[in-house]
């Protein structure tokens, strides 16, 4: 069997809104059956990339193939093969839960009997049985999101696009959504998501493209990114500026890299236990001193000099 072609492929993908360059000539390939994430702060261009993939905004230049179809030439066919969960809730508030699914199924030309069968399956899978005939208004945030995902799956798409799937959800609802995403990956669905949450990216994604200001600034598996961009461990300190300076001077030889933020000093190292002990031994008045393993947040800090949120 020949090597599989990527299921989504972008070449020199560019999007301008007037003078603003929202997406700046990026390339990426996504393999079938994986979960690919675009990680970056708000305004990085993630949603614009998604919208180009699901054909609600045209490319300014470049090429984009989804399921081997050109998004500019075969819009309807591209959209027939994918499911989309938009960032803002786009449920139909004039309809109840079941009708949201049935009416959506019609847009894909499912027959009424197919639609009903599929809708019942999805209501089951997303545990919305109690709310079957309720108006969408009465659903909790987590249920609404689940219904949106259910709706996006009505056509059995092989690609599911999730734009910020857990933004605005409480922790329990987030975990529920993630669990469902894992099940979908196991069923062979390719997941494409955007997020500005580290934990979400780490939990779900096989590969990540880190985006900032319309560009992809790093790409790889979450683990690869952490390993290649930063030292494995971090000592995090909250203290007054002069103490932070003193610490930096004293332990400079143990520190591979550091980030001085407005509220914290981050020291990247290979041996956090020793570094921690040495700093502790200085007996300075510190508000916080803790060690942790490096995360994607650190990767992002290193790459952009800024945090992901805020």
């Amino acid at each position: 069997m020949p090597a599989q072609k990527p299921i989504v492929e972008a070449q020199s993908l560019q999007k301008n809104y007037g003078d603003l360059v929202a997406v700046n000539s990026i390339d990426f390939k996504i393999d079938a059956g994986t979960c690919f994430g675009f990680l970056g702060p708000n305004g990085a261009g993630k949603t614009t990339v998604m919208r180009m993939i699901y054909c609600t905004t045209p490319l300014s230049s470049g090429q984009l193939l989804v399921n081997h179809l050109d998004v500019m030439e075969q819009m309807s066919d591209v959209k027939r093969g994918i499911g989309v969960v938009t960032q803002d809730d786009s449920l139909d508030y004039d309809l109840n839960v079941l009708n949201n699914l049935l009416v959506y199924a019609r847009y894909y030309d499912l027959s009424p009997s197919q639609a009903l069968e599929r809708a019942e399956e999805l209501i089951d899978f997303f545990q919305l049985n109690d709310k079957r005939l309720e108006n969408v208004r009465v659903l909790s945030g987590g249920m609404k999101r689940r219904l949106q995902i259910a709706r996006a799956l009505i056509n059995k798409p092989n690609i599911l696009i999730l734009d910020e799937p857990s933004t605005g959800l409480d922790p329990q609802a987030r975990h529920h959504v993630w669990a469902k995403c894992h099940e979908l990956i196991e069923q062979g669905v390719t997941l494409l998501l955007t997020t500005h949450y580290m934990d979400e990216a780490e939990q779900l994604c096989d590969r990540l493209a880190v985006m900032d200001q319309g560009r992809i600034i790093a790409e790889g598996s979450p683990w690869d990114l952490i390993r290649s961009e930063v030292a494995p461990q971090v000592v995090e300190i909250r203290a007054e500026g002069k103490h932070r300076h003193a610490i930096l001077k004293k332990v400079a030889d143990q520190v591979e890299d550091h980030e001085s933020l407005s509220d914290r000093l981050l020291l990247y190292t290979r041996d956090s236990a020793k570094l921690y002990a040495d700093i502790h031994a200085l007996e300075l008045p510190l508000k916080t001193l803790l060690t942790r393993r490096s995360s994607l947040e650190d990767v992002f800090l290193k790459l952009t000099g800024r945090g992901l949120i805020g």
Partner: protein, 257 residues
Amino acid sequence: MTTPRVSIRAARRVWQRNATVYKRTWKLNILPNFFEPFLYLLGMGIGLGTYINEMEGLRYIEFIAPGLLISSIMWGATLETTYNVFVKMNFDRIYDGILSTPVNPKDLALGELLWGATRGSLYGGAFFSILFLFGMGYHCGILLMVPLLFIIGFLFATIGLLFTSLIKEIELFNYFFTLFLTPLFLFSGIFFPLSEMPALVQQIAWFTPLYHGVELSRGIFLQQWGWDLFWHFIWILGVTTVNTLVVLKLIHRRLYH
């Protein structure tokens, strides 16, 4: 870039979505459509008609009824493609959901036009049935009104959607209704014949949609068959076609950029 062709099937899906929503509340919705003509005919036709004995040789109620019927289509169809479309497009985000399916912006626009025409026809149909009660329109030629209800509904749906596709603030609809539709309602020959008006008024009227609908409807109701009816019909068809092409393009640009 090639713009995909309009899919009638996808447009029908959008129409069906609206019909599904309407089905839930149609009984509540449709009742006022019957009261409104009844009140108009009672108040203006009989009330005012007591003082106006005759208009162009007709009882006043018979003079105004065919035109009022057309104006009810106008209100019904435009209400649908102005406020309702604007809310679906900008507040409820329903279109975001629809456009990520195989339905494209032009299909969506066509679906809304068909639905606007349907709502207009329902308004007109209700009015029509009340006219029957008042004893008007008992002849075979009246059957021509059936397709006409829908065509005129479609015409006004395109006019409403045209305006909607151009504005960003919902408040601007006040201008559309007060400065465009209300003058049409008053000066399209529904309540008094335009032939008595200055030539300029008549010339302006020729360029407006309601006038042609009113003339056509009155001609059919009173069985005044003639070429002028044909030309009114051609005017309506022509403007509807041009409007449709323009509005599909505008909505495409508005929703896909």
